[in-house]
């Protein structure tokens, strides 16, 4: 403890000086906008502070959008986690080095593929004049609803889950499985008593990451569904670009604050999970 204090005192001044530009830029580029945002969210029409804006976001139509965003993110997180984990396990146990390399590389690419280009690719496939829509004789609007959006979000969520869970699955030592089998455990018992508990933090951490990604996504939804699926990100963009009545700017700020609170909760779950899962992967 005293050694640490001494070291800090010795090099501390110069050290903080070296970090000063970073801290200053963060303060200006991040601190100021966030403070303005929080302050604006609590500002009341005609001056003063209050909860007017925030309570307005807890009424229709905003609460509906918030709820719909939360529901979509939960569906994507749950679906992405299950499918991603199964896909990763299928690939890792296939004993084909080529398949493994190909899937992990493709996951790296697709996990970073989002925004409007993602929407375009799915519109060409399942949109109203999409190739699959025509081939299967699906009616119009098959893609432009809640479940269509969930399907499209899975396109980057499942690969992200594969990337998150693959190291954890690799860390599941074959000896544990052999030991369980030697003691008479069935496959189900192995997964229930050994596999899932060891993978638990990684699975939950990954699910939370997918939830956050789907919750924050804006561009794909804007290009795909427009206003037909109410989402909090779409509401914020509308309020910001003036697609709504004048005087609702502070609603955008309050909705943003709602989003940040959700993201904070998400991170409060994710960070401890990440620490815990790294324990097994040493």
């Amino acid at each position: 403890m005293s050694g640490l204090t001494k070291a800090r005192r010795r090099g501390g001044g110069a050290g903080w000086l070296a970090a000063a530009p970073l801290l200053l830029v963060t303060l200006i580029a991040f601190g100021v906008p966030v403070v303005v945002l929080v302050f604006g969210a609590f500002s009341v029409k005609g001056g003063g502070l209050g909860f007017d804006n925030l309570s307005a976001t807890m009424k229709q139509p905003y609460i509906g959008a918030l709820w719909s965003s939360l529901k979509l993110s939960a569906v994507v997180a749950l679906g992405g986690t299950v499918l991603g984990a199964f896909l990763a396990q299928a690939v890792l146990t296939s004993r084909s080095g080529l398949l493994r390399e190909a899937v992990l590389t493709a996951s790296g690419v697709l996990a970073n593929f989002g925004g409007v280009p993602l929407a375009f690719i799915w519109i060409a496939t399942l949109g109203n004049s999409g190739v699959v829509t025509a081939a299967l004789g699906l009616g119009s609007g098959a893609l432009y609803n809640f479940w269509g959006l969930a399907l499209v979000y899975m396109y980057f969520s499942v690969p992200l889950m594969v990337l998150v869970i693959a190291p954890a699955l690799d860390g599941l030592k074959p000896q544990w499985r052999e030991a369980a089998q030697n003691n008479g455990a069935s496959t189900w018992q192995f997964w229930r008593m050994v596999g899932i508990p060891v993978l638990g933090p990684s699975l939950l951490g990954g699910a939370v990451l997918l939830f956050g990604g789907a919750f924050a996504a804006y561009a794909t939804a804007a290009a795909m569904v427009g206003a037909s699926v109410p989402l909090v990100t779409l509401q914020i963009a509308d309020a910001l670009t003036g697609n709504v009545l004048i005087g609702y700017e502070n609603i955008a700020l309050a909705l943003s604050l709602d989003m940040i609170v959700v993201a904070l909760l998400v991170m409060a779950v994710y960070l401890p999970m990440q620490k815990r899962s790294s324990r097994w992967l040493a």
Binding site: P33, A90, V109, N112, G115, V116, F120, T125, S256, M267
Partner: protein
């Protein structure tokens, strides 16, 4: 065997789900019932108005973000290792911030701060500064925002790179031999960090080349924003651009893993 069946089903379903949209998109861009096979859609990208302009703008923004991220993050990361361990939690917090503040809320904050700032500073010399950082041709505001978004990735890859280097010994040796601090940074530390710097740079570039929300809502025509505006009614062109941007991500990632592999 049950084990083989579930694996085949999983791989089959995943294959259909991930490959069919890609195959359809590529097919859609090169085949047309009236014209047959043609790479015309890809040719139209280059000749579309604003292509060069927006691409150059995004590449310039990317270059500025890379330089700034490295200049800000490297000294701070070195300081953590050279006797200011108290900085580490501060840096960890800074680099988690963009995960807590989603881009759409970040842009709301920036827009309001700029609006409030220009009103409040109207009578002072700072007003001119605030206007000039919002310049359409080279928006410094966007550079700063992207630096904040790129920091988490850049910080982690640089931190991993520094873990493999005995920074303290290198710096003390160089300083004892009379090297100046800039010399230490550019001629001693950086050459040892080539792959980490490369991956931090590529991650930052990938971010700048793909970010849509902030640029679009602030009204800047960067490459990703141009893709959307130009697509308009030309379905083939829009899908061709999507395929192209997927290719771009793939290329960046390939370069990234290539840079990472060389270091081993």
């Amino acid at each position: 065997m049950a084990g083989v069946t579930w694996r085949r089903v999983t791989l089959g379903v995943a294959g259909v789900y991930f490959l069919v949209p890609l195959a359809i998109s590529v097919w859609f861009t090169v085949y047309n019932e009236t014209q047959g096979f043609s790479l015309g859609a890809y040719g139209r990208i280059v000749s579309a108005p604003g292509f060069t302009e927006s691409l150059v703008k995004s590449l310039l923004l990317g270059a500025a973000v890379i330089v700034l991220v490295l200049l800000l993050a490297l000294p701070a990361l070195l300081a953590v290792r050279l006797g200011a361990p108290g900085l580490r939690p501060v840096l960890e917090t800074i680099t988690t911030l963009p995960l807590i503040v989603p881009p759409i809320t970040y842009v709301v904050g920036i827009a309001n701060a700029l609006r409030g700032g220009t009103d409040a500073l109207a009578a002072t010399p700072f007003w001119q500064t605030l206007i000039s950082i919002q310049d359409e041709n080279f928006p410094v505001v966007l550079v700063l925002a992207y630096v904040m978004l790129a920091l988490p990735f850049a910080y982690r890859s640089l931190d991993t790179g520094l873990r493999a280097v005995d920074v303290r010994t290198l710096v003390e040796a160089a300083r004892n031999l009379g090297a100046s601090w800039p010399y230490v940074l550019f001629r001693v530390i950086l050459p040892n960090l080539r792959s980490a710097v490369a991956s931090a740079s590529f991650l930052s570039l990938a971010l700048v080349m793909g970010e849509y929300t902030i640029a679009a809502l602030m009204g800047y025509r960067t490459f990703p924003v141009w893709i959307v505006t130009i697509s308009g009614n030309d379905g083939q062109l829009s899908v061709a651009l999507s395929v192209l941007s997927l290719g771009l991500i793939w290329l960046l990632l390939l370069t990234l893993s290539g840079a990472g592999r060389k270091s081993k």
